[in-house]
């Protein structure tokens, strides 16, 4: 796990469900195929209604759609409200975000299957914060996550926030997922 994760923040609201993170019609791509896996990145967060794309103003696409081949986002950190990732168990949700280049999500709270998938699949780091950050950070802000001290720095606004410790899942996140963790622990 890198000590510092830097990037632009993309801010979304509450109850962003898995259908908004990766619409069901894209689930036909085979996530076990490396080339097709990338395609999920292109469609990440494409299910968000226009006005909810990139708060506070909305109407900011997560991925620049003008270039058909583009599968990566300019935003490396998603900042979310409550219950992020609710809905389906589809692992394609954290996968799509990871394929688009997201390294971490900082949410007020998570739905449990999305949280588990992020951790066990090693897709991204799911940070939680006690503060409602979506009211304090705007889409496009330059943000820095310090993983060793659990702090978020908003370089654009010169503000700093505490992130909750990863707690019990820290060893799995640090290992890079459940398989790596199990190997390290001698289970496999």
């Amino acid at each position: 796990m890198d000590a510092v994760i830097r990037g632009q923040a993309y801010v979304v609201g509450d109850d962003v469900d898995t259908d908004q993170i990766i619409p069901a019609k894209h689930l036909v791509y085979n996530d076990a195929d490396p080339a097709e896996r990338k395609i999920f990145g292109r469609h990440a967060l494409s299910g968000l209604p226009e006005g909810r794309r990139g708060l506070p103003g909305g109407h900011v696409d997560f991925i620049d759609q003008t270039d058909e081949a583009n599968t990566r986002s300019a935003f490396a950190i998603v900042v979310a409200g409550a219950n992020f990732g609710c809905g389906s168990s589809r692992e394609h949700a954290p996968l799509a975000l990871a394929m688009a280049g997201v390294r971490a999500v900082v949410a007020q709270s998570y739905a449990r299957i999305f949280y588990r998938n992020s951790v066990n699949g090693g897709f991204l780091i799911p940070y939680e914060t006690p503060v409602r950050l979506i009211d304090a950070i705007q889409t496009g802000d330059e943000v820095e996550l310090r993983t060793e001290t659990n702090r978020l720095i908003n370089a654009t606004r010169a503000t700093e926030y505490e992130l909750l410790s990863l707690g019990d899942v820290a060893p799995i996140v640090e290992a890079g997922g459940i398989f790596a963790y199990a190997r390290q622990a001698g289970m496999l």
């Binding site: 109850d15 469900d17 036909v28 085979n30 692992e91």
Partner: protein, 447 residues
């Protein structure tokens, strides 16, 4: 101090005398289920980490049930089925329900006879019918509505592809033991009410994250009087409140059902009298009224009578939540002798339901005849448009229409178009609304 049923099941499967909420345990898994959409990814994860020639740890505990993208011309959906077939053959998996009519290109012709195909239909309704749900066990599936199986007194929850690949190879997975919220439902069910109304009411009260990381345990005289399918509807939507699992402790109703479908041994457990619960929520069911979840969240619940008259464009009756026998029997009660004012799409949850629609009667007509005479369209069994699916899916909401549906989620875009508005309701309410073309309280039509 005693344990809840969920704590007991996890303790037993972790080889521990007791466990407490918040504790992390590694549990042995009794059944792992996957379907056509998540199967390929699960297989990929398994092979990536255990090797291309690896064998699953216990083939008898693996159940593969294609159901999501079946009746579509989408070539990638067909490819998913092919991937499953190859894996099943390579591993010698017994519990696989192949849509044998999916061959070659284009929209597959549906099965001619629902009882003459290996295909079964929606996984959460097939698992119990084929004897894979047993009290006291741990059942995992690569689908959020795997919690449906909690209706059989077991711990059942949805997981992702990577985790499922892990389970295929090791037979274990870690869990944080959830605290339990107890829902006590008392009183007889009025004839205009269904389990769907009760679970929507509960989700409306606690919110879409009200049970996040919790077990929802359903008890009380109402539950005792409920048939298995209605209990499934209740547990099915536990995930919509954010729950880890929903559970109805096994009783005679459960055991009779399960015994009729499997000879495998099982050992039911129940919650101890001195178990500790996070919270208790009591409902007097006799006074409960039909409800609807308005767009765009399952917790935007309103009494049907308060929004009655809202014009609709479509009705959809189907899915694991609302496409079972009990659901079509309810819809037929309302539709008998009437016609629908709006496009009404009916999708039986599985091939047994499909067959029974042509056999079971009400008022001297088969249920299928009632649906057809009412002007409904009836498709072969599958998940259908519950989750939108490929563009050519039967019943998919492809424009800004208002749909009343017996399905389980209504977030933006759930059934297709981002501009469609989905109202979640019981089959009684959906059928009544189809007849008038507007949101309608079933009490108005049930005399």
């Amino acid at each position: 101090m005693g344990m809840t049923i969920t704590e007991k099941i996890l303790a037993r499967h972790a080889g521990q005398a007791t466990v407490a909420p918040g504790q992390n345990v590694w549990a042995d898994i009794d059944v792992l289920m996957t379907h056509d959409v998540c199967g390929p990814g699960t297989i990929g994860a398994f092979k990536e980490h255990f090797g291309p020639d690896a064998k699953v740890r216990d083939p008898d505990r693996v159940v593969i049930i294609p159901d999501h993208y079946i009746f579509t011309a989408d070539a990638k959906a067909h490819r998913n089925i092919q991937i499953l077939r190859e894996f099943v053959a390579e591993q010698g998996l017994r519990h696989y329900y192949d849509p044998d009519f999916v061959q070659g290109e284009g929209m597959p012709d549906p099965y001619a006879d629902p009882e003459q195909t290996s295909y079964q239909g929606v996984c959460h309704t097939v698992l119990p019918e084929r004897g894979h749900t047993r009290p006291g066990e741990v059942l995992l599936g690569t689908d959020s509505h795997t919690c449906t199986a909690g209706a059989f007194g077991e711990f059942a929850t949805g997981i992702g592809n990577t985790e499922a690949g892990f389970v295929l190879g090791t037979g274990k997975l870690w869990f944080k033991v959830p605290a339990t919220m107890r829902f006590v439902l008392e009183g007889p069910m009025p004839p205009y009410l269904m389990a769907k109304d009760l679970i929507l009411r509960i989700i409306g009260d606690i919110g879409v994250a009200g049970a996040a990381y919790r077990a929802m345990e359903f008890v009380g005289s109402t539950i005792a009087g409920m048939n298995v399918e209605e209990r499934m509807t209740l547990c099915n939507m536990a995930v919509e409140a954010g729950a880890k699992n929903g559970v109805v402790p096994a009783d005679e109703v459960t055991i009779d059902y399960v015994r009729a479908r499997t000879d495998l041994p099982f050992e039911p457990v129940g919650s101890d009298a001195d178990a500790e619960y996070l919270s208790e929520h009591r409902y007097d069911v006799a006074g409960a009224e039909p409800v609807v979840a308005q767009p765009h969240a399952p917790d935007r619940v309103a009494l049907v009578k308060d929004i009655a008259g809202t014009k609709l464009d479509r009705a959809y009756i189907g899915s694991c939540t609302g496409g079972k026998m009990v659901d079509f029997e309810a819809a037929a009660r309302v539709l008998s002798g009437r016609t629908v004012q709006i496009d009404t799409f009916c999708v039986p949850a599985n091939t047994r339901v499909d067959a029974e629609l042509s056999r079971r009667t009400h008022d001297g007509k088969t249920l299928r005849q009632i649906l057809l005479d009412a002007g409904c369209q009836v498709a072969p069994a599958s998940c259908g448009a519950c989750l939108g699916g490929p563009d050519d899916t039967f019943g998919r909401a492809n424009s800004a229409i208002k749909v009343i549906s017996t399905t389980n989620r209504n977030f933006p875009g759930r059934m297709g178009s981002l501009d469609a508005e989905v109202f979640l309701a019981s089959p009684l309410t959906a059928a009544a609304s189809a007849v008038t073309g507007a949101i309608t309280d079933p009490r108005d039509l049930l005399k």
